[in-house]
């Protein structure tokens, strides 16, 4: 009687479990009970990037310039910067982590459900890498341009300038010509125009045209003006006098002169990088042609480093590299202790503003290169999810049909168990979100899950075949079922071990596809061992009775 009681309790527990996993897996069933529905519907399976759309990016970080004991810090800084940028983009739950492969440091960025994948990518790509370098001795001759080629280039530039001058004098729109042709980044976007400047702030050749050559307001000077910058086509707009000093407004088109680049020094890293940057802003310098520049302020550590570097390098040059390109290499005049520096370069106002924005969002301490990308558009992810769910449903139904046709009554019980198994797996997927072992279901994971449905009934088949054998050997049906479970257990255990061994090795292989597959397969094998043995057995014991002995055809054994 106690046994019977125990069985009843077990059976009741199984029914409760079945209802529970059923509702968790299919919350739509409770749509009439809004409270329950709301709670259950909140549980979601964590879908992989290939199913909900998204992007997986892997970057290699070049840490060759970083001392080995600071690699960890540098990588942390890279991660922080990228995290900040990604957060600014407003992606829900970005996953960003650093990993290593051999001696290589890598950064992995996973963004789920991103609408515009390219935009997200360029956002990360634009994260600037800022570095200060000092002279390391020796020069790099490879940058030198042979003099005859240089002359040639300049002759061509002059011809181009003359051509533009002709057009301008013929009445073509000056502003448009400037926009299309001018090589002065400070003014070209503005139609070549500079607002009022005090006399004396531009190069003398330029001002001579404005003030001394008899040019009137609104007129274009009919000759090319050569300065150290190149050839100018100059238009005087207005000259006025304020407080006794002359001011002028003008526009020009510059065709730049190519000059021999300064002999490149071999610059070496100083350890001062974008990591130490506190803020950046746009500033203007007013000498010669007005050029926007970017002023930087370092944090405490950076200021200290910068002071050391400038102190060490007085009279020498310190180069500022942005994204591995040298943008300026000023000569240090004195030690700078206030932690402020200025970058000048060929910036247009827009470029300077953009750079400042990028720098303020964070500059990288080491350069990174994209080495691997997997991106899936949301609609494709959705389609994959639908097709794989369909495959799963078809697979499940076919297995159930097979089991019932072949094993009849026993198959029916096994099918019921299989449904519980399926629900239990879905429930585990959903609840894993609350555990440290969160399961992310990918396409390959679904494939593993579907495969595990086929494998889950394996244990039942082993048991049922054994049972049939025992019945054929003349055992009572109920005893045969018991015997079937007992004798099949070792086979079930052993046969699953080899699957688990290979699946475990697969999880260590590391790639997302394989991991997703292997994890669900292992989970499936373990869960199905429980459902196929414990649950099937309890249900069978509860449902089967003496009547089964008289209806052996229900088990698929012919009556003797």
């Amino acid at each position: 009687m106690i046994l019977k009681r125990k069985l009843q309790i077990k059976f009741t527990l199984i029914i409760i479990l079945a209802v529970f996993v059923g509702l968790v897996s299919y919350p739509q069933a409770t749509v009439r009970a809004p409270f329950l529905y709301d709670t259950l519907n909140k549980l979601k399976i964590n879908l992989g990037l290939d199913l909900q759309g998204g992007i997986h990016l892997e970057y290699r970080a070049d840490v060759s310039q970083v001392e080995s004991n600071q690699v960890g810090d540098a990588m942390q800084a890279v991660q922080d910067v990228i995290e900040r940028r990604v957060n600014a983009f407003g992606v829900a739950e970005p996953v960003i982590y650093t990993t290593r492969s051999g001696s290589e440091q890598r950064l992995v960025v996973e963004l789920a459900g991103v609408k515009d994948i390219e935009e997200a990518k360029s956002l990360i790509k634009e994260t600037p890498f800022l570095e200060f370098k000092e002279e390391g001795g020796g020069t790099d001759e490879s940058q030198q341009i042979p003099q005859d080629i240089l002359d040639d280039m300049n002759a061509q530039a002059k011809v181009k300038a003359e051509d533009i001058l002709k057009k301008a004098l013929a009445g073509e729109d000056f502003a448009q010509l400037a926009k299309d042709n001018s090589e002065d980044p400070g003014s070209k976007d503005n139609g070549g125009e500079y607002d009022f400047q005090k006399k004396g702030s531009f190069v003398p050749e330029y001002e001579a045209v404005i003030f001394d050559k008899g040019l009137g307001d609104g007129q274009i000077f009919p000759e090319l003006v050569e300065t150290t910058f190149g050839w100018h086509i100059i238009k005087r707009i207005e000259v006025r006098e304020i407080d006794g000093s002359q001011e002028f407004k003008s526009a020009h088109i510059l065709i730049a002169k190519k000059t021999q680049p300064e002999p490149q020094m071999n610059f070496v890293s100083t350890g001062l990088t974008g990591k130490n940057l506190e803020t950046a802003e746009v500033a203007f310098q007013n000498q010669g042609l007005s050029e926007p520049q970017v002023s930087l302020k370092f944090d405490g550590e950076g200021a200290k480093l910068f002071a050391e570097i400038t102190k060490k390098n007085i009279g020498k040059r310190v180069a500022i590299y942005l994204d591995d390109m040298i943008i300026s290499a000023p000569t240090v005049q004195a030690e700078i202790t206030n932690g402020e520096a200025v970058i000048t370069g060929d910036f247009s106002i827009e470029e300077a503003k953009d750079l400042v924005k990028r720098l303020n969002e964070g500059a990288l301490p080491v350069p990174i290169t994209l080495i691997s990308q997997q991106s899936v558009e949301a609609s494709l992810g959705q389609a994959s999810l639908e097709t794989s769910l369909k495959a799963g449903a078809v697979g499940l139904l076919l297995v159930i049909a097979f089991m019932i046709l072949y094993y009849r009554f026993l198959g029916l019980i096994a099918s019921f168990t299989l449904l519980i198994y399926t629900g239990l797996m879905v429930t585990l997927f959903k609840f894993s979100v609350f555990s440290p072992w969160q399961i992310t279901l990918t396409l390959s994971g679904i494939a593993g899950f579907i495969l595990s449905i086929g494998m889950a009934v394996d244990a039942n088949i082993l048991i049922f075949e054994r049972t049939k054998e025992e019945i054929r050997n003349g055992r009572h049906a109920l005893a045969a079922i018991d015997e079937g479970f007992k004798r099949a257990w070792t086979s079930i255990r052993d046969s699953n071990v080899s699957s688990i061994i290979t699946a475990l090795i697969l999880t260590e292989m590391g790639t997302g596809f394989v991991k997703g597959f292997a994890v669900t397969l292992i989970l499936g094998v373990l869960v199905s061992m429980f459902t196929a043995v414990v649950i099937t057995r309890t249900i069978l014991r509860f449902v089967a009775g003496e009547w089964l002995e008289r209806k052996k055809y229900l088990i698929g054994v012919k009556e003797k």
């Binding site: 691997s372 097709t387 394996d458 046969s495 699957s499 061994i501 292989m509 790639t511």
Partner: protein
Amino acid sequence: MINIISKTKYAYIFSITLTALSVLSLFVWGLKFGIDFTGGTLLEVRFPESAPNVSEAEDALRDLNLGSLTLQPAQNQGMLVRYASEDDALNQKVFEALEGKYAGIQRLRVDFINSTVSQDLKKNSLWAIFFAVAGIMVYIAWAFRKVSRPVESWKYGAGAVIALIHDILITVGVFSVLGRFYGVEVGIPFVAALLTILGFSVHDTIVVYDRTRENLLRGSAKEKFPEVVNRSLNETLVRSINTSLTVIITLLAVYIFGGESIKDFSLALLIGVTFGTYSSIFIASALLVTSYNLQSR
């Protein structure tokens, strides 16, 4: 009772032929490695209206001089574009070139793998295969640790291993042929499929061997070894077939309905599991009998 052992000769001929053909194909044609192992980009695009034919789309990319470029039509006005690439900037150019010719084209999927990553994947796959084989060997040694007569236990192990090599070689051979004629590529999923087959193949064989040993222990002295093996095969035949059948049913569902990206993966598993079932019924036990016959001669 079906006398399976008596048909050994045919099974051997069939299996040796298939295995030899697989090895031959592997030597002559090799496998067509995908970007997982070679590095490069796989780009899936969808055209706004019907997809143009392959050569027309190829024209749009001519100027880029892409290495090992292949284009392949895909479902829903789609096309798969594969090419060698080291640098992400190229991926952008390729798409822009396509966009220039076909306005409104959509980029559905981009898999880009730089050669450093593909080297890693190659290395990891080899390690995984090594560990899986080692793990399976250890498991086989453990499963057959009990000495049994009249055939020594290591021979059971050897039989299981031969059956396993047979299954793997044939699967790889089929993919070599598919690669040659249908451009099917092998990548990480294929390796995963092979390792899964390793696990399956062994477990099928072990079920049959277990029964043989059980019958040997309990059987009468009159029954000869080949007869015991044959009886064991018959007793486990239905369950061998049925357990594989349910797995094959689900794999077929995945193969047919599961979509493009896991088709090749499920196909590899299908082939492996099918041959795994065949070999554990017709080859693995036959090997025991053959070795017994050689021994008692």
